[in-house]
Amino acid sequence: MGMTISEKILADHAGLAQVSPGQLIIARVDVVMGNDITAPVAIKEFEKLGLDRVFNPEAIVLVPDHFTPNKDIKSAELAKTVREFAKKHKITNYFEVGRMGIEHCLLPEAGLALPGDLIIGADSHTVTYGALGAFATGVGSTDMAAAMATGEVWFKVPETIKFIYHGKLQPWVGGKDLILHTIGDIGVDGARYMAMEFTGEAIDSLPMDGRFTMANMAIEAGGKAGMFIPDEAVLEYVQERAKRPYRLYKSDPDAVYARVVEYDVSNLEPQVALPHSPENARPVSQVGNITIDQVIIGSCTNGRIQDLREAAQVLQGKSVHPDVRLIIIPGTQSIYLQAVHEGLVETFIKAGAVVSTPTCGPCLGGYMGILAKGERAVSTTNRNFVGRMGHPESEVYLTGPAVAAASAVTGKISAPQEVVG
């Protein structure tokens, strides 16, 4: 019987020739990742085991990115716990402020997540690395602790839903719009416990950054993984970054899927997910007149260079609306630097935006752009739950970078065409 890419990666890491959905396996992981919120809990659990070493210091990646640069004393203590653990266990893949980035932008960029890997991260958006053809999934801190000790994790082999996107995308339409449209269709639990596999003509021509965006939000449909079959674009992306061998898997033609969902996306408009759920997605033309107070462009969903380029294209020579705060957060230091080189940062600042050091910051309501009661934000992040970005009575509208930038200019939710024609 044929296997999907997910089943093949899981089988190989469990030392099995074949696995099938529902099967419980114990698998070896290539990477174990944690951040400044989840790692401290894992470290506490790990230390209870009384071990003097982690299973493999090189396979552990620690990224303090959520509340760093430290937003308050308690966060400083969390970051310190992670820093000291990294020192003690000689974990070289520890990323200090100044070298860090948002974990899910950073790991692929640094060549730490590679095709064919089995990766767990104590962060739900670990699914992002599926864009590279890795099976990557989020776990809790205790799972992270156990994996730091043993290098192993138990998994239930998930079923897979295959998505086929037919057609060519319109200008200003990208990965964010595809995934919001998909979640709008199947719902926030439409892929619960399942792997999502993204295929089709529109995917073949989707740049890597758009694929990361899609894989990133698989969790917003309840997915365990968001998989892409690695192609030329992936090879080009990883070739220069990889410092260890990797393997390209693909699904067999006779692989079994729980279901196959097909979309014709040739006329898909930019999408907006209304509060308070990513599944409230609709075309930007149907949103109506929604005035806004703040715009965030950044996060592990849309904080990559393509996203910033797209935003800059819209903002070039324009001004941010007087009633709007536009906050732009590059995903990593090298994305930041690239944006400086390309003049994007100048475009942003001239337009009246603030450009921040890489951090999760406002995405999870941490700092750097918290909303007051009754305020409304457009954000390129991935969650618009109640209270996600601040006061429980604030609102978040999820979009891609082009709509976000256009809305910052007009002061209301707007299609990019309204600003750049």
Binding site: V41, G140, D143, A149, K156, D189, V386, G387, R388
Partner: protein, 167 residues
Amino acid sequence: MKITGRVWKFGHDVDTDAIIPARYMNTFDPAEMARHCMEDADPAFASKVQKGDIIVAGKNFGCGSSREHAPIAIKAAGVSCVVAQSFARIFYRNSFNIGLPIFESPAAAEAVQEGDVLEIDATSGLITNLTRNEKYQATPFPEFMQQLIAAGGLMNYVAERVKKVGV
């Protein structure tokens, strides 16, 4: 083991930001988190909940982030267990790992009302509604999960394994 408690009812897709908002996650002190448990779903919850109470919810409970702070906050608030139509997968895993009993039962999620008193047989998954005199069966756990429960959570299981086979 039998769990008995009074029910607090919630809807579908209760997310981890509602269970414990990230603004309180600069600490992982369970008592501190308990004070904000379910705050964005029901701001009064932490002051109303009594030790042993049971949360009953709709589909996809615990969706969103991987934060283990969510089941920890629920447990620290004194909640004895969560019954839902279904659970998001990371929350499901985390609950096992930290020892918060959870039960998947669409029938219970549908029929049970706020204030009902439930008695749950944790081993068989039989849920008895003492208020309405009804019974519902929860989905049984896979064998491996039962081993985890028997070992007293994942870290105990790992500790055993580390002792036996080394790392």
